[in-house]
Symmetry: C2
Subunit: 322 residues, 2 copies
């Protein structure tokens, strides 16, 4: 299991490369939810999402011999671009396996950071097989988007920063997809600020983590139909036991609340966040009993979104399927 | 003429009410322009724009007897909402004269902050006449959007903050409409950090301030056709002589560069800015000779924009007329 010391060492490795992202507040959003909210803005992170922390920690932990072989991943989301950026930072190649139907933006990010895009069929089996092929051909090291101790430790540095930046938090909430971010944060916070309650947030339409914690066994994410495309994955073998140990509850948000929360963040806080990043705020909005009167850290995970296609615009709602 | 001490006292008045907005940086935008840019994010200010500083200073300077009569302004832009918010902060009424065809958002902001909207015909004469009527009927005090020493002193607090937040600036650039912001900043910076070069930025399609400084006489803004709706006004009688004294140069940006710069700020910095706020970045982009190798403070003035109607979306370009 990932230990606090892993996160501390990850922070030593990555801190010269990452942004220490600011924490922003808004009276309007405090009133809207009924709590005192501290937004940790990882949408301002390099690469546009917290994913750069974990990817970079993994890349920097490679030996020189390993690094020379490059890295590979399969991800239709922010991890692909983040790994390409991390690899560029070390001057090594990155191969990112992307389904042929992946959003243009995600492909563009990989290419912009100098990564190689490897197309594959859109199912998970094809992605894994293609990644395995790349490894066989190039010797590249696989860096999984979340089920990797190096990645979890890197994401945990978000937790280190936020508890330094905001004193006296009652609660810290982050969205859960594969669980890399929340499990990393959980290890950091449980050690450094054990009185802070840890919560996860999920779309109600992709609530496998909530159901997994309740049932005590890791359930797959089946046919998730949510606009929060970063949260469609199921928990990993490494992340699940960490969440079981440290996370109090996982709360959920409806699709309409997610879009409304995303719009509130854009309109009232003037920041660009992607749908997945709005899920923690949305889940709090649906649980005023949890938020009321509390000081709550809320992780805004990323801001990579197609600006020509926003969910509150006519005709875009139809694209919420997986 | 507004003095440094006026700005200092304005800051004492407003600082408990305003956000000390953060300064953000972006490696991508530094590369894009070729300088070291420090963005002062007044889009994060209360009310969504720097205008709250000046409006609040004006409202807080009223005697109790004056304040009881309320305030009035005519503004189709951010000043209307800002004045309503400032008046609410002091618990007094605000009347905002708005042309019948004003953008729905601007009307909504005034109403949301508890102000009264007074409709009028869309020409400047009708606006002034209607405001005069309101004053006659209610005794409300006129707070002009920029040609008012109290307002200029309030806007100058942006300058105080930015020179505290960023050491060793070579240059500071802000957009110019009526000139309230730039003249306030100029007085602050000339006194506190006289080595910082002061620049203004305007749309090429509304370059009356540039022409006024070059000709030595205050020229009107005639038929401005720019998407930067906050910068269509001409200079005021108070702001013009301050700019003449302190501002080195006013540089301009084409409409396409303004939209491109706005999109870069959204896409790469993940912040919501309105077209007017992107004009300083756009003007620097068109003058790489000025930007290269320099540390430049760039004021992002506001973020109030209709999220359902963005300028890079099909069919929206047609709305750039005044």
């Amino acid at each position: 299991m990932v230990q606090f010391d892993d996160i501390n060492r990850a922070y030593e490795r990555v801190r010269g490369h990452i942004h220490r992202t600011p924490v922003l507040t808004s009276r309007t959003l405090n009133r809207w939810v009924g709590g005192e909210l501290y937004f940790k803005c990882e949408n301002f992170q390099r690469g546009g999402a917290f994913k750069f922390r974990g990817a970079l920690n993994a890349v920097l932990m490679l030996s020189d011999a390993e690094a020379a072989r490059g890295v590979v991943t399969h991800s239709s989301g922010n991890h692909g671009g983040a790994l390409a950026l991390a690899a560029r930072e070390r001057g090594i190649p990155a191969h990112v396996v992307l389904p042929r139907d992946a959003v243009g933006m995600k492909r563009q990010a990989v290419l912009e950071y100098g990564g190689f895009v490897v197309p594959c069929d859109p199912d998970l089996g094809a992605r894994q097989a293609t990644a395995a092929q790349v490894t066989e051909q190039t010797g590249a090291i696989l860096v999984h988007p979340y089920d990797d101790a190096r990645v979890i430790a890197g994401q945990g540095t978000v937790g280190l920063e936020v508890i330094e930046q905001v004193q006296g938090l009652d609660m810290l909430i982050a969205p859960v997809g594969g669980g890399g971010l929340l499990s990393g944060i959980a290890v950091a916070v449980a050690s450094r600020a054990p009185r802070v309650a840890l919560m996860g947030a999920e779309p109600a339409e992709a609530d496998d983590a909530r159901r997994s914690l309740l049932s005590g066994e890791r359930l797959p994410s089946e046919n998730p139909r949510t606009i929060a495309d970063g949260l469609r994955a199921g928990l990993g073998t490494l992340t699940f036991p960490i969440l079981q140990r440290y996370v109090g509850e996982i709360i959920t948000a409806r699709e309409d609340t997610i879009v409304e929360s995303m719009r509130m963040l854009w309109e009232r806080m003037k920041i660009v966040v992607e749908p997945s990043a709005a899920v923690a705020l949305a889940a709090l909005k649906e649980r005023p009993d949890l938020a009321r009167g509390r000081r709550i850290g809320v992780v805004l995970t990323g801001g990579n979104v197609d600006l020509a296609r926003l969910p509150w615009q006519h005709g875009v709602e139809a694209s919420t399927g997986s």
